[in-house]
C-alpha cells in the first residue's frame, strides 16, 4: 500500500537518551516496513515544539509520536492534532491528565518513581554501610524548571526526607557532564564527608565520578553513586564497579511499543486495549546488568 508518514517530535538531540529513542523508532519503522518517519527535535524549546507539530500537520503526517518537553505547554499542539484528526501517542512523558484533549495512548515511564527508586537504593546502601540510614547525600539536579528535573528530584526527596539522619545537599548541574564535574568539585571542597551521590541523569553522575576520581580526598568505590537513564557508558562503569547504579526507563521499549500502537491504529483501525501503558523504571546494578536495554 501507500507509504505511511509518521511524525516524531522530541525535545532535543543533544541528549543521548533521545537519540536511543529515535533510533528505536526508526528500527521499528524499518521492521514494520512502508513507513516514513519524520523526526524533528525542538532544541528543548516549548514553542518550537508546537511550531514543529503545526508544521507536521501542514505537511500532512498521518500520525504523531510525541515526547512532550512540558506536560502542559504542549497541549495546544495536541488540540491542533485533534482538530486535524491526526492520532497522537505520547511517549515517556505524559501530558496533564485532565487536559481536554484526546491522546490515543500513552506509553511511558514515571520519572517521579525513578527518583524514588534511586532514593530507596541509596537508603538501602547507607543502611548496609552504617547499620542505619544516615550520612550525607549529594543530589545533582537537572536544568532548573525542566519537567524531568522537577519530577526526579521530587521523587528522590519524597523518600529521602523520611530519614532524618540523612542530610541531602542539592545543587543543579543542568543535566550536563561538565557541570556535574564542576559542581562535584565544589562539593568535594565544602563537604568533609560524602556518602552518596545521586545524579538526575547519567551525564551528571559521570562528571561527578571524574571529579571524585581526581580529588584524592574520596575514593569513588567508597561513595555510593547513582545515575539515571542507563546510558551505555554508565552501564560500562557499573560493570567496572565505579558506578553503583542507574535508573533504566527503557526508551527503546517505550518507543517501539508506542510506535506499534500508532501504526496498528493507522493501518488496522485497532485502538489499544489500555490507554496508558506504564513501564516500571528499574534500578540497574552490577547484579542485573543484563536487564538493561542498551548494550555497551
Amino acid at each position: 500500500g501507500q507509504n505511511l508518514t509518521i511524525g516524531l517530535s522530541f525535545p532535543s538531540l543533544s541528549f543521548a537518551w533521545f537519540s536511543f529513542l529515535e533510533q528505536a523508532v526508526k528500527d521499528k519503522a524499518a521492521q514494520l516496513g512502508g513507513i516514513d518517519v519524520i523526526s524533528l527535535e525542538a532544541e528543548n524549546n516549548v514553542s518550537k515544539q508546537i511550531s514543529i507539530i503545526e508544521d507536521m500537520i501542514v505537511k500532512g503526517v498521518k500520525g504523531v509520536l510525541l515526547v512532550p518537553i512540558e506536560v502542559e505547554a504542549v497541549i495546544p499542539a495536541v488540540e491542533a492534532l485533534n482538530k486535524a484528526n491526526i492520532p497522537v501517542v505520547t511517549v515517556d512523558r505524559r501530558i496533564k491528565e485532565d487536559a481536554p484533549v484526546k491522546v490515543l495512548c500513552h506509553v511511558g515511564a514515571d520519572n517521579t518513581e525513578g527518583g524514588r527508586n534511586a532514593a530507596r537504593y541509596i537508603v538501602q546502601k547507607l543502611t548496609e554501610k552504617y547499620g542505619e540510614p544516615k550520612g550525607t547525600v549529594i543530589e545533582l539536579t537537572g536544568t532548573p524548571g525542566a519537567g524531568p528535573a522537577i519530577d526526579r528530584s521530587a521523587g528522590f526527596n519524597e523518600i529521602i526526607k523520611q530519614y532524618p539522619n540523612i542530610t541531602v545537599k542539592s545543587q543543579t548541574a543542568n543535566f550536563r557532564r561538565d557541570d556535574g564535574m564542576k559542581v562535584m568539585e565544589d562539593f568535594i571542597m565544602s563537604t568533609p564527608q560524602i556518602d552518596a551521590v545521586f545524579g538526575a541523569n547519567d551525564e551528571m553522575i559521570l562528571g561527578a565520578i571524574q571529579a571524585l576520581q581526581a580529588s584524592g580526598k574520596f575514593k569513588v568505590e567508597d561513595v555510593i553513586t547513582v545515575g539515571f537513564d542507563a546510558l551505555p557508558e554508565a552501564l560500562k562503569l557499573i560493570e567496572e564497579g565505579t558506578l553503583d547504579a542507574t535508573i533504566e526507563q527503557f526508551p527503546g521499549r517505550q518507543a517501539s511499543t508506542a510506535f506499534e500502537v500508532l501504526v496498528k491504529f493507522l493501518r488496522e483501525g485497532v485502538s489499544p486495549e489500555k490507554s496508558v501503558m506504564l513501564i516500571e523504571p528499574k534500578v540497574i546494578t552490577k547484579d542485573n546488568l543484563n536487564e538493561a536495554e542498551k548494550s555497551f
Partner: protein, 325 residues
Amino acid sequence: MPVLSEENVPLVQRFFVFWDKVGILLAFLVVCVIFGMLNPVFFNPLNILNVIRQVSIIGVIAVGMTFVILLGGIDLSVGSVVAFAGIIAAGFQAKWGGNLFLSVVIPLLIGGGIGFMNGFVSTKGQLHPFIVTLGSMSIFRGATLLVAQGKPISGMSPAFRFIGAGMVGPIPFPVILFIGCVIVAGMVLKRTVFGRYIYAIGGNEEAALLSGIMVERYKIAAFTILGFLSGLSALILTSRLNSGELVAGQGYELDVIASVIIGGTSLMGGEGGVYGTLIGALLIGVVSNGLNLLGVQPYWQMIVKGLIVILAVLLDKLKRRFRTV
C-alpha cells in the same frame, strides 16, 4: 560636480541601486520560492499564516530590539523577561484571583520596568548594555524559578487564551499584534521626533548630545519599549501554551538579534529599520518551517539553517560591492 544623469547610469548599477532599497527582501523571496518549489504546501495560505503566527512571538520582541540596536545597544535579557512576565501572567490567571486586567497589565508593566532598569543602569552607570543585560538575564531567570517555586503554572481563562490562540476572521490574533507593532514602530521611527533621535544617537552619540538631544533619556526609553514588547510577547506565549513555563524564552535573544541584523539594522547603530526586521524574523521562521515541511533531519537542519542565514545576509551585502562600481 558632474552628476550622472539617469541614462548614463549603467543598467547593472541601476539594478543594484534598486536592490539596495529592497535589500534582504529579495534574498527572502528567493528562499521562499525555493521552498515553495520543493514542497507546494509551503505556499498554502494556511501555512503562511501559520508561519507568521509562529514568528510573532520572536517578532514582537524583535521590533523592540530594533530600537535598542539602532541606538547601538543590545539586550540579552529578553528571553528571561519573557519567562518572568509569563510566569507572572500565569500566576495572576491561575493562582492569584484570575483577574484578566491584572494578568495582562502587570506583565506588561513588569516587562517595561525591567527594560527601564536595564536602560537606566547601562546609561547612568556607563556600562555596556551587553554586560548589564547579561546580568539581568541571569537575575530574572532565577526570579522566574523563585516565583514559580520551580514548577510551571497552568490553567488560563478562555478570555486570556484569546491573546495567543484567538482568531479575528481568518487571521490569528498574534499575527495582528505583530504586524500592528511593526507598523506602529515603522511610523514612530520614520515620522516622529523620537524616532529620528534614535537614529541620531545611534549614528553619532556625541553629535546628538551636542545637538541638545537628551541622549540618556531616549536610550532608557528604547530599552523600556523593548521590555514592554517582551512583556507582550510573554502574554502571547503564555496564552498560546496555556501555561507559564520556566524555561520559556531560553535562547530567544539570539533569534531576536539575528532577525534584526538579518533585516539590515547595523549592530553599530544608526542604520536600519523595522521593516527589515519583519523580513529578518520571517526569514528565520520560514527556514525553520520549510525545513520541517521537507522533513530534513535535525542534524542537517542546524547545518542548513546556519548556511542559509549566512548566505542570505551575504546576498544582501553583495550589493555594496557593486554600488561603488
